[in-house]
Amino acid sequence: MSDAVSEKIKDYLMREFLPGENPDELTTTTPLITGGILDSIAALKLVIFLEEEYGVAFEAHEVNRENLDTIARIVQLLIAKKPAVAQ
């Protein structure tokens, strides 16, 4: 199930921030913040997407490199917030 979550996040990232780029190059470990894909505005947009898509609430201190730097970490955070996401 977490694979499906990863795919959904990847689709969103490709559509919103990386149009025209090769989807194969975006893996679950591609650095998003340190790689310059997610800046503060993009991170906020992503958070709003996740909140709406999965019905979770983020807090300001969670918008950081630790939680959002890779798709894998985003999925981990989502699962921690809402274990049902993994099922």
Partner: protein, 847 residues
Amino acid sequence: MDSAITANGIGAPTVDAAEARARISFLNFAIVAVQLGMVLVLLRQFQIESTAFIQLAAVAFAGFAVHAFLPLRLRLPFFTVLSIASVPLTLGLVNGLWLLAIGSSLIGICHLPISFRWRAVVLLAVATLLAAQRATLLPFPWTEAIWPILGSMFMFRLIVYFYDLRHENAPVTAAQSFGYFFMVPNVCFPLFPVVDFQAFRRGHYSVDAHETYQQGIDWIVRGVIHLILYRYIYYYVTLAPSEVTNPAQFMQYVVSNFLLYLRVSGLFHLVVGMLYLFGFHLPETHNRYLLASSFTDFWRRINIYWKDFMQKIFYFPMVFALKRLGTTRAITIATLVVFLLTWALHSYQWFWLRGVVLFAWQDILFWGVLGGLVVANSLYELKFGRRRALGKPVWTWRSGAMTIAKTYAMFWIICVLWSLWTSESLNDWIALWSALSGPYTAEALLFPGLALAVIVLGSIPKQKVETAKTPQAAHRAWLLDRAVAVAWLAGLIVVSVEGVHTKVGTEIATMVHSLRSGHLSRLDNAKLERGYYEGLLSVDRFNSQLWEVYSKKPSNWLEVENAGLKRFVGGFAQAELVPSFVSMTKYGTITINRWGGRDKDYAETRPPDTLRAVVLGPSIVMGWGVGDGETFEALLEDRLNKEPLSPRFKHVELLNFGVPGYQPPQQLVAFDKATAFQPNELFYIAAGREMHRSADYMAEVVRKRLPIPYPALQAIVDKSGVRADMDETAALKSLEPYKAEILKVVYDSLVEQSLKRGIRPVWIFMPQVRAGIWQEETAPTLKIAQDAGFAIIDLEDVYRDRDLETIRLAEWDDHPNALGHRLIADRLYQAFAANPDLIFGNRANAK
């Protein structure tokens, strides 16, 4: 180096995986150690920053050698112990212990077993107490030296730390806390990056040890390159606003002002590079900020730690709090508040570093304009997005040209904005623009051409480790990065060797020689000098080494300035020493006699058989920083009486009429006063840059609408076109071309009035106790004095073969100390002994 592209692992590492990452083979360690040895040589060869830093770097590198082979669990405690030890090692035992005690108390408060709210209240109370002490409203038992370092360690990091304690669940160890605040090499740097506590904790050996160490060396080397480039700009390229008279100089001025930022980026690379050596894989502090292609891009590339700090502590919490207003509004408001706070926090930083609150309109304007532009740019990106790339971006001529054009435009906009920020006043900045109406020569293309070349070269995409598509490509990119760093390291060391750079030619050798040491530029030297004369403190507001020199100056340094040594009397001279004033200073008593001179209480009428000389000059004559009886004037008088050089006079009296801050034109007033004492001799002490200081004073006289009782000076003012409503820079620009003429009027008048009264005029040149700008005008000044008819005594080499630091009063005060005054007195005595007629002759010199 597969680990380079798999560095961002998922989840918490296992202990074994962490241990494995933290290990380094002996061969790799040896390679790193050799490079570190070269780094140490480089730091020494170029005297990077301070002796204290070089010593600390040596200790840190030695510490690295031990640290690299410790079990992982002991490495952070080892780093913390090394960091704590660095404090008393650098600041001295007493200061160091005080700093550690205050710092430990602040850390302790963060962990009190009470609610976070109450901890915050206690922290604020203690911070208020410390602020009151910093502002000297309350006494404190430690010396001022610890404030800037204490400030740099805690003023921002304590906020981050407290925030993370509030929001992090993982327990914090004592080693993490103490290591975070006292981290090597913070004790050497008042300006220090705002390292994030979370990044500090999580980054520790998060990536392969060898890769981390190598990255650290790269950044140290990059930092040193930035610092050497900074020195070149600082020494050779910067201009004063009053020197900017044509478009070429305008370009030079705005570009060089912005590039002075290389100091900050250099230091931050150096600092973070050193932290890498202890396993802290931290984010980069700057990302090629000259290549920013938009305002948001600039904000993201320059001082990234600051941006991250503001984002974490203020921006995201505010956006979340305002989310109900809609994302666009929330982002707009939060961005504007972030820039407002950035301005306020710069003042806050200034307060902790310098002890005074900074309030300058150009700061508010700069941050206001930049904030507005970043908001506009953010809204544009919110609506239209911005181009991002996975891996190496595809480069086409069209996209490349567009990027270069945007980057080039951004560079110049930032340069101009920066010039506003760093200008001493808005008027100064506005006056700069008149230079664009000057002649357009080929030189005007130099800086635009150089900037374009740098941007074009920087915009060519290169293979990066992070974006490599295969492990082989990543490895090649990694090796290339190492090779480049080592080549720079070796190249700079070779160039720094005297036997090498002296072979290339005198000019290059002189330049390399000057780049090899950190000293004040000619402009900062002038500001320091001006600081003595005009008591200006704002000269150290921004971005210069003078700032650091002043940061060491105690606030009560020779407190006589504020204790009534001088009084305002109006007229052309404006001020004079207060008669019968007595003050005790750290350097001895200062006694002003009833006539307003720092001297014994002589009778107004010259006694019979006495040679009486009046000594005119600025603070060096008055004896700034030495006690009564220790001035060269007092010492010389004493010796001339004890070891007479002529039987013609039974006594010699030297009357000290030196007044701190007096410029050459003011000496005309001092001379009028001195003639009442029937002198036989006039000793005029010239203290360097006489011409410039004369023009500067006349500009001040005009701006203050003071009377000019000397028709020849009034005539120069009239023909220069200087007006009272002009700002300082414009007034100086008008008078600078007449500076030699102004000085000539002063000298001619002194000689003419002396000869009329049978006084022998002697001109004595006294160097400053620092190599630099004062030397620029020595030859033409000496010629003007000679032509006027002064007898000349040139003491330019009075400090030759001496270590200037043993003669200088303090790093921030170039006056000679008691030893310096003894040297001057001895040299003058020798000069008189070699030519007694100079002062004991039968008649005054004729022109």
